[in-house]
Amino acid sequence: MTISVWPDNKPLDVAAIRDLPEGERAEQLKLVAKQVRRLVVQMIDIARAGHIGGDLSVTDALVTAAFGVLNISPETADDPGRDRLILSKGHCAAALYSVLALRGFFPVDDLETFMKPLSKLNGHPNRLKVKGVEANTGPLGHGLPIGVGSAVASKLSGKNWQTFVFTGDGELQEGSNWEAAMTAAHRKLDNLVVIVDRNRLQQGARTEDTASLDPLADKWASFGWEVAEIDGNDTAALLKAFTQNRNGKPLAVIANTLKGKGVSFIEDRVEWHHKVPSKEQVELALKELA
């Protein structure tokens, strides 16, 4: 089985997207997001494992940040002043790996090794094995403190890079996030953005039936953050939020998303946290993502 990407084998020039005018950029990002979703489904099909629901919900935000806003490329992977993209919801590694492969950090074909014995593409990302991975996440609530440290380092070094941290919503039940939220606001880290993948589902149930998070925007605002609440599956809205004025504060983007976005029978269903689609379902999913 081989991974297929880009219809008619006509790849987009993903490196050029960042320089396009905003409207055009959003349209191109949609195309990239669709490819990432196709890759995620194929990876999970081959591995017969993975976290498909969260991968598909976070895709648009990841793609918008990585291809539309941040200075992230294989050429600058070791540049001390590069922007940092931290996937705190590390179980959605398939989405991150797909983004990195499309950006040229490693061959797209390597995605076929996802979770295979001795693969560099572990079920959770490892910075020492995969260029472009900034943090070894997996246990939840780790990415934001690391992001805060990165944002402090950015100011202290005078290199002024951006740090984007992607968290789940259920993940915000971990207290370490709120410790970090206090530090970020206290230190006025306006170079730090947290994107909450607000799909309202966690592994076992709806967040609001487990340990409710609402009113979530108010929580971040009360901690001293600038807040944007948007449609997190809309690349234009994401672009706007990522580049908005932060008023000297760290920015929390509450990205309202659908878990499983893009595949009708997976969308917004708790059982698809890490369920693996059957071969028939994979075909159906790829048809929907064509």
């Binding site: 780790h142 402090v152 970090a180």
Partner: protein, 318 residues
Amino acid sequence: MNAHSSVSNETFDCRVAFSEKLIALAEADPRIVAVCNDSVGSSNLNAFRDRFPDRLINVGIAEQNMVGVAAGLANGGFIPFVCAAGPFLSGRATEQVKADVAYSNYGIVLCAMSPGMAYGELGPTHHSIEDLSWMRAIDNLDVLVPADPEQTKAAMDWAVKSGRPIYMRVGRHKVPSVTPADRDVAFTFGKIDVTGDGSDVALVATGTLVSRALEAQAILAAEGILARVLNVSTIKPIDAETIIKAAKETKGLVVAEEGVLEGGLGAAVSMTLSENHPAKAKFLGVTSFAPTGSNDFLLEHFGLTAKGIADAARKLVG
């Protein structure tokens, strides 16, 4: 020639040497920063803060965040010295130490201030007696226990030079200098410093227990029992060669540490012996949650004294 150098009455709080050295290192290397959890005073960082206000990152009472922030700083090119009371650094932030520091392979120096039972009367919640076990269990994390101010400073030099993930105890309980005058460097990573070549018994000690082992060596010498003292300042990786040599050349070993026996120095020595040269040994440590009392009182309570070590040695060779 093999008689131990007598232990001085003058004693030192290793945190003083630590803070002086940290400032010196920071002056020489702009990458060095301090990260702490509202522990500026207890970590003796006031002078550092005055000298480098921007390079002291005090995250407040939030240890998980503290270690994560250090990882982010390391990602951004800095060398963080994370300074916090041992029990909270090792206990509250264990997962961050594992994932964000060791598994991520960052050059971060986790400085466990006031370890062991330094907080005496504050009780077992504030005693850091499990830390060596917990930290030893984490792959790719070096575990250091300097025994005096000279070793503390030399270990810090090593930490910066090596760029390794390191957990290091920084003692508060006052100890005499135990570094022999003829040593070129007070601390050599991965090497046990041996005092004497006594062939009756080996006294294997770390941190606060090293000076007590040296005192025990003198007590035993007066009775005609010849001991050698092994100062283990690198707990992990353990210097197996020196331990095996001591086992081969003596009738047994007494191992003493200010910590629990399940997983610390004693366990490291025990595994080394079992696999290489089974020998008689007696392990001294903190065997229960402590009652109320000062650090000195509690060391006495658990038999972690020169007398306790000498008693164990006599039984072993007797």
